[in-house]
Amino acid sequence: MNLNDLSDSQQTVLKELYQGVLDGDEEQCTLMAQKTHEEGIPPLEVIDRVLTPALREVGEAFNRMDIYLPEMVVCADAMQAAIKVLEQFFDKADQRTKGTLVLGTVKGDIHDIGKNIFKVLLEVNGFKVIDLGRDIAPVTFIDQAEDSGAEIIAMSGLLSTSLSMMRDTIQILNDDGIRDKFNVIIGGGPTSQNFAEEIGADGYADTAYEGVQLCNEILIVKA
């Protein structure tokens, strides 16, 4: 779809939807998403041409700290409101996500703000996230990943004792002979690239933003 080929009314609707995401306006996004359908614009085009770039702009503003977590969450909620409308108009073949992650703060650790920021950034970037919360045992990560068909297990922690839990999770995957089924990434205060390599993780990210880029590199977008 070439944007220049769109009618004025179609372009207006798309622009207002884009702005609705930037403004975190759920009502606007819901209304405009419905109007894209009335204007005959395919839902996948709306996601690819409007919602994804809008959210990318939001994510970049968050990374620069031009906006803060609550504002990004409001924008993400507005996006989700638009997607909820558009989902009605998808063909089954249209439905896609970049990939699925099982995410949590490891056992013994209740620090989760970094994990929560990562979750929001992942969702605005098209990933499906199963957020297990905090204080999550190694086997819970694995069981939930298996049950959900997730491609990535993502573990976070702030305490130094969390490192042993990350190591244990990978060890259990190895012992069960299912290590190759999942990509395992880690993040949080005491973690590092060297530690990730030491325990055999597939990746480490210093920041939530880098974590999203890591997930993009690890996974292939499903068509």
Partner: protein, 462 residues
């Protein structure tokens, strides 16, 4: 009795359930209103503001928010609240001065105000920093105890216990915590400071049982020492940490709680973190029956929890001034650094944070430290604590305007590398651990930075 016994304990499971999401998301919209109502303004050129009226307005904003918002209880998903009258009943009846430790090592905690000439307490330690167990850990603690500017001593985080990786909730956690405090006890004795007060959140332990297992008059934390029971970000508490507080108080041990408002998180900008931080101090004093709160604002962009970012320094100072001007509830300024031992940057970070803390009506420390782990082990030394302590002494009584100039100069020295600091060296490579003396190279660098700071306004006495 207002406070932990029994207001807090009674209210933990009262009222209707509040979803955590809803609690979190409602913070920023309201805090934005309070920022506007009370005209709280962050100035990046003034990390140490000298605006008494704004400090008082910030306190008023924090008090209003504390009463309105309350604390969310993780285990019950309920919110506990205190009225302003209940809060003031606690704050107005805090006892001071308080004495900690024994014999010649006894120290006095007195309320301070901004620019106060009252001697601040300086707490040296490496909480959060990964350190090799046993003799290295003990010698690091000895290093702090041998610094005369350090009044109290806090722990580090042992990487292994008896060569074994520590698993949360395992019995090894408890064994590790008991050993750890034993090393600290040994360290202060070997350093000739057996009466030094201890301030501990065992690095070997993530959970409450080991933290309580270290209460022991002979070889653990004793009456008059401190046990950490932190709050969770933002405005949250849980049974684990309250359990530590109950155990501490009923064993005549002080509760040190901690607040870590996050710039960029649910509280939004620096002004939001300041408002939420003041609310957290007020509620910490009330809900935990804490003796002191450790002020530890963080910023989203620094993953190791460093407190030396320009914005976090401002939030620290703002909270410190708001609380000290309006209450006698003491605050310690946690000093978490980005750089590692052996670098000039870590010394300027320590100096900046000390200047902020003392001029803003607080005490200094624990620290300097940083969240490290994995391969980042033993990258901390007592020399940065020496800088923190000597600057704390030197700037006692200094005006906020003068302190601000010192802090801005320090920022020039380390701000360019914040987030990607120089690597540094291990403690055992910087010090001669056999005779417990810093190596010449590290000592020379310290003296160079100290001379530079003196030339830029720090009136060192020695």
């Amino acid at each position: 009795m207002p406070g932990l016994h029994f207001d807090t304990l009674d209210r933990l499971n009262s009222g209707s359930r509040v979803r955590e999401d809803d609690f979190d998301k409602s913070i920023f919209p309201r805090v934005k209103e309070l920022i506007k109502k009370y005209e709280i303004k962050f100035d990046p050129e003034t990390p140490v503001p000298a605006d008494d009226a704004m400090a008082d307005r910030l306190f008023a904003a924090g008090m209003e928010y504390a009463v309105e918002k309350g604390l969310w209880v993780l285990d019950t998903q309920k919110v506990i609240k205190f009225t302003a009258a209940e809060i003031w009943r606690v704050l107005d009846n805090l006892h001071s001065p308080l004495w900690f430790g024994h014999a010649k090592d006894q120290v006095c905690l007195q309320p301070r105000k901004p620019e106060s000439t009252i001697r601040p307490l300086v707490l040296g330690g490496a909480a959060g920093s990964s350190v090799t167990e046993g003799e290295i850990y003990t010698k690091l603690m000895m290093g702090y105890a041998l610094e005369p500017t350090i009044d109290m001593i806090s722990n580090a985080n042992p990487t292994f216990i008896e060569g074994r990786e520590i698993q949360p909730f395992s019995p090894l956690e408890t064994h590790g915590a008991i050993q750890e405090v034993g090393w600290i006890r040994e360290a202060v004795r070997r350093s000739g400071r057996p009466g030094m007060p201890l301030w501990v959140a065992p690095g070997a332990a993530a959970t409450a049982p080991p933290a309580i297992a270290i209460i022991n008059e002979e070889r653990g934390i004793r009456k008059g020492d401190f046990l950490y029971a932190a709050m969770l970000t933002e405005l949250k508490i849980d049974f684990d940490r309250l359990t530590r507080a109950v155990a501490a108080i009923e064993n005549e041990i002080h509760v040190a709680t901690l607040l870590a408002p996050m710039i960029g998180g649910w509280a939004g900008p620096p002004e939001g973190a300041a408002v939420v931080g003041v609310a957290e101090c007020i509620l910490a004093a009330t809900a935990f029956s804490a003796t002191i709160a450790v002020n530890h604002p963080v910023i989203m962009t620094l993953k190791n929890g460093a407190t030396t970012h320009r914005q976090t320094l401002w939030v620290e100072s703002a909270i410190g001034q708001a609380m000290s001007r309006n209450t006698n509830f003491p605050l310690g300024q946690n000093v978490f650094v980005d750089a590692r031992a052996g670098t000039r940057e870590i010394l300027y970070e320590a100096a900046a944070n000390a200047a902020v803390a003392v001029s803003s009506g607080q005490h200094t420390g624990a620290g300097p430290s940083g969240v490290t782990g994995g391969d980042d082990v033993d990258m901390i030394s007592p020399m940065e604590a020496r800088m923190m302590g000597e600057v704390s002494r030197a700037v006692t009584g200094m005006s906020r305007v003068d302190a601000n100039e010192i802090v801005k100069y320090c920022l020039q020295q380390y701000e360019p590398t914040l987030g990607h600091p120089p690597r540094g060296k291990r403690y055992q490579d910087l010090y001669d651990l056999e005779c417990m003396k810093p190596g010449q190279e590290w000592l020379d660098l310290f003296e160079t930075v100290k001379a530079d700071l003196k030339a830029h306004g720090v009136p060192f006495r020695y």
